[in-house]
Symmetry: C2
Subunit: 239 residues, 2 copies
């Protein structure tokens, strides 16, 4: 059930670990990634680290300039909007295909994932209080699993690949708003609406609800992002 997390080459592990650190915000947007410093904080050699960073540039989580090294990709409102629009396009198509093609097992998987998500969302504190970090991590995991289950029957490896890329990006943005204690709005109702439509095989409605969900999430993140920008928290270079 649980895959050992020290699988694969050192480069693989470095890739996964740094990716997580970027998505979860432990490495700050725009931060310079000096190889020497990284060999110290992670305990990988330079070769695995370089390989990991190279691969992360493909995910647009790291940017690079020849001979000048690597940086954590910056965040911006413009990119948030761009990602959200493209993600709406791709995710709705994946949902559409999945709802139309999903078999009984898919229904079961989606239902299970939804129940687990519901359980977590029931425990969420009121809108204004900031979310404890580990609760945030748990919610992100269940949220990711729910959306992944939804599209799992689309039977299109390429659509999935692109979707995963975009999901990853949006998760990175979303974690920002989790920390900065935005109102958590009616997120569970949105999930419930998607779930209901999907189970009823109402593909059109499932798509519309998904699109709305992506848009509203973007709206929430946009507020958090603006607040951080005012506070000057965004371009800070954390050592």
């Amino acid at each position: 059930m649980t895959a050992p997390r020290n699988e694969g080459t050192l480069a693989d592990r470095a890739y996964r670990q740094i990716r997580q650190d970027i998505i979860e915000g432990r490495l700050a947007p725009g931060q310079k990634l000096k190889l020497e410093a990284l060999t110290a904080s992670y305990s990988f050699g330079m070769s695995p680290l370089r390989e990991a960073l190279s691969r992360l540039t493909g995910d647009q989580l790291v940017i690079t300039e020849a001979q000048r090294g690597f940086w954590v990709a910056p965040l911006s409102v413009e990119e948030l909007d761009d990602i959200s629009r493209v993600r709406a396009l791709v995710e709705t198509e994946a949902v559409n295909l999945s709802v139309r093609q999903g078999d009984a097992q898919w229904v079961q998987d989606v239902t299970d994932a939804f129940e687990e998500l519901r359980a977590v969302e029931r425990e969420l504190p009121a809108a204004e209080s900031p979310l404890p970090p580990n609760l945030g991590d748990l919610w992100e995991a269940k949220n990711r699993a729910f959306h992944a289950a939804l599209v799992s029957a689309c039977h299109s490896p390429w659509l999935m690949r692109v979707r995963d890329l975009l999901y990853q990006q949006s998760e990175r943005y979303r974690r920002l708003s989790l920390k900065s204690s935005r109102g958590r709005r009616a997120v569970h109702e949105e999930h419930a609406a998607i779930f209901e439509a999907a189970i009823k095989r109402d593909a059109l409605r499932a798509c519309r609800m998904t699109e709305l969900h992506v848009q509203r999430t973007a709206d929430e993140v946009r507020l958090a992002l603006a607040a951080l920008k005012d506070a000057g928290q965004l371009t800070q270079a954390v050592a």
Copy 2:
């Protein structure tokens, strides 16, 4: 006008060169990529090569298995169909945005690119004869430039990134059918139809024509692929 092709780090150059060799078929689908052999044929050291191959796995042009090395990504009819469907989705959205937002400069760029493509397509030999390699390269370049010009006003970096990824994949498949002397059908008429609609700002028609174009290209490649598969040319490991 012409950028020197020995720009960037060795890893950058290796990346571009190998990518081109895969797309243009000089490295065969499924072929094992042994580091030692690559250091010999290209004259890069192992480090730049490894970095290049790592980055290419992100483009899905190379696949890798931990501790077992790298292979040129295989081709298959299933993947061709998958890529074509997703590409139709993404490319039509990009065309749609571009047609609606493109300014005078965009019209000019599209027109220029179309004229250059027309000039090449006028010279194309009759449907049954195989295309000479350099004519094929020229046509591919003009075709790529035309389609790139079409979507250049979509103003969505992420849509473009995804589009480029898919275009690259489809070009790799398409080159297969160029070599194997398939009928070249009415490809110029398809381009002309897209062009006309785009210039007239008929976004819906431009999208429909683009979708048709992608589908028909896939149909043609599918035939070529089936022919190669029968001939057993596909999984051959070229030394």
